[in-house]
Symmetry: C2
Subunit: 339 residues, 2 copies
DNA sequence: TTTCAACACGAAAACGTTTGCAAGCCAGTG
DNA sequence: CACTGGCTTGCAAACGTTTTCGTGTTGAAA
């Protein structure tokens, strides 16, 4: 690993002082036109790049944003990251991504690592395990230490900071209403257990939509999947036991599993059963039949989160605004599965 | 942004020198048991964490790996990243991810940024635009500056460094042979234009498989998609014009588009036409019919790349081994589309 | 009492920057 | 000639660490 070109070396070569070099490269008029040109030419020739680390140390700013997400092999998070990247780069920030793999311990470790000077602030979606055990001291601690944080998607109420969330309830409501408009009367929902915040909200939206149309909620039609690995069979069983004309799946996995099971049963989608899904992926458009979905606008979410964070990072001390929670609205994309 | 606790502050509070604190925390016997305990207790109480930036500057090592990929909203890259993350974290390395969005300029910018001291080395898949224009000076430059780099997936021959590639040709060959075994005789391929290295290799594999079975390649059955946005119609047209009993799609998009088009034409998969796809996603297993695929083992690729890089980073100077190119083998996963 | 080793700690340099300030030089002015 | 002022440039401190090399204080041996 060759040592990189530093100010000191340039200074030695050109027989001037380090400060002169620094000033020349920063185009200070303090340095005579002659010397400045000479130094800049030399720097360009040998391709000088200032050392970010040294700059970070000096400025006590890294211009780096840390992202901490539960999993990366997930289309939704990928889109959020893309959104964050976009505005971060526009504003001259770099991005570090860490993945907790939905483990509490990993989350704590990564957070400590990032807080150790590598980043100026965080954008975080908490791990499932963390939500489950309800221990948020690590989040509170880094905030307490003065690092700005934005929570998104999997947020936690108890932590005070900026937040960006999807209007899950509204989205679910929209989905179910769409099914109602299409004439469905017995609408089932395939959702997650309640400690997953988004699942809970979507279930709420489902209830709300039905109630607002005066249809009582039949608890038989609410399937909560605990174990993702056994979801296929549970869904198949659910579909065999309950007679429905509409299904709302809170994610693509559940919805496609349902359609697959119906397909095996010889039930036609959308002719006999219509399906609407929450979506985070590219699967929906390609599926046969293509899925009517509630789109989540992950990129927009990432952009908002990044903007919130950067605003806070660049706010003058004492000028801090109160914490905000921004809502991302969903939109219904009609496709074949609910025609 | 509260200033974080530093050695200097601990020293002041406890009325000792900075060096004493540093040594105590690092458990040097030089410092008396008493003072050591006192300092460690204090540090623990106030939750002292050494500043990574300062350490990086001092050690001229960041223990950070830079990943540069063309796009993140892509299941394959997500799996590779997951693999890299895994071994990086095991070895105490951090990971920075940058995305070029397939733009040459972005790639150059990001590379310069990362090379500016933020990382010890790179793992890179080059942008499509870069492959197209064949300008690799930026890659060569950072290598020349002494930063180790590992290229993966979208590699470039001209750059001398470690590489990890998928055996695309072998995979394609396997796919086509599978179709032949299933009795297909007129097998079409839907692939990319040749400047995309993986597309080219997969096309070669296709030819090889046919030739090895004594079947001449009919150029009419080779569809090269240039413009992804118009792929749907091109594929539909291709299927209408050519009579085939087997189709090999070099990615999930092409394969599912083909099945969709066949579906519309009333042609049954796999009964009338069998389909095999290269795969990088989770779509295959869920699709109806589920897709027989050539799996790419992205995580394994990431792990290998990370190991290669870390080995080089930790090699003693003068001990460097010659550059290696590691091959990842693909595997055939049989599902419904080729039954 | 002197000398010396062992022990406990501190000073300072280094990593690569930036920047306020001091200082040198030269020309012009009184 | 002595000052002043402008123009250049260098010095040094600072960011938070680690580490080498002192240095001062013991207690014991000579």
């Amino acid at each position: 690993m060759k040592p990189k070109l530093t100010l000191k070396q340039i200074a030695r070569e050109l027989d001037v002082s380090v400060s002169t070099v620094s000033k020349a490269l920063r185009d200070k008029t303090e340095i005579s036109e002659d010397t400045r040109q000479k130094i800049k030419a030399f720097a360009k020739l040998y391709n000088y790049r200032p050392n970010n680390i040294a700059l970070s140390l000096k400025n006590r700013k890294t211009r780096t944003i840390g992202i901490l997400i539960p999993e990366i092999v997930h289309h939704f998070y990928a889109t959020v990251i893309a959104g964050i990247e976009k505005v971060a780069h526009e504003q001259g920030y770099n991005v570090i991504i860490c993945v907790s793999n939905n483990s509490f311990d990993h989350e704590v470790m990564n957070l400590e690592m990032l807080a150790g000077g590598s980043t100026d602030g965080f954008i975080v979606a908490v791990a499932k395990e963390t939500q489950q055990r309800g221990d948020y001291h690590h989040l509170k601690e880094v905030i307490h230490q003065g690092m700005p944080m934005v929570l998104f998607d999997r947020i936690v109420e108890e932590v005070e900071c900026d937040k960006v969330i999807i209007d899950d309830e509204e989205g679910a409501c929209m989905a179910v209403k769409h099914l109602l408009e299409r004439g469905c009367r017995r609408i089932g929902i395939i959702t997650t257990v309640d400690y997953v915040s988004v699942g809970k909200l979507r279930t709420q939206g489902y209830r709300k939509a039905l109630e607002s149309c005066g249809i009582p909620v039949d608890e038989q039609l609410v399937l909560k999947i605990e174990d993702m690995d056994r979801s296929e069979e549970q869904i198949a069983q659910f579909l065999r036991e309950q007679k429905m004309d509409g299904i709302f799946g809170v994610n693509e996995e559940f919805s496609t599993s349902a359609i697959r099971a119906l397909h095996k049963m010889g039930v036609k989608v959308p002719d006999q059963v219509r399906v609407v899904s929450f979506s985070d992926g590219s699967l929906s458009a390609r599926f046969i039949p293509s899925l009517t979905t509630i789109n989540q606008h992950g990129a927009e979410m990432g952009e908002k989160a990044a903007n919130l964070l950067i605003n806070r990072l660049e706010a003058d001390p004492g000028e801090e605004e109160p914490y905000k929670t921004q809502m991302i609205h969903t939109s219904l994309v009609e496709r074949e599965s609910s025609l």
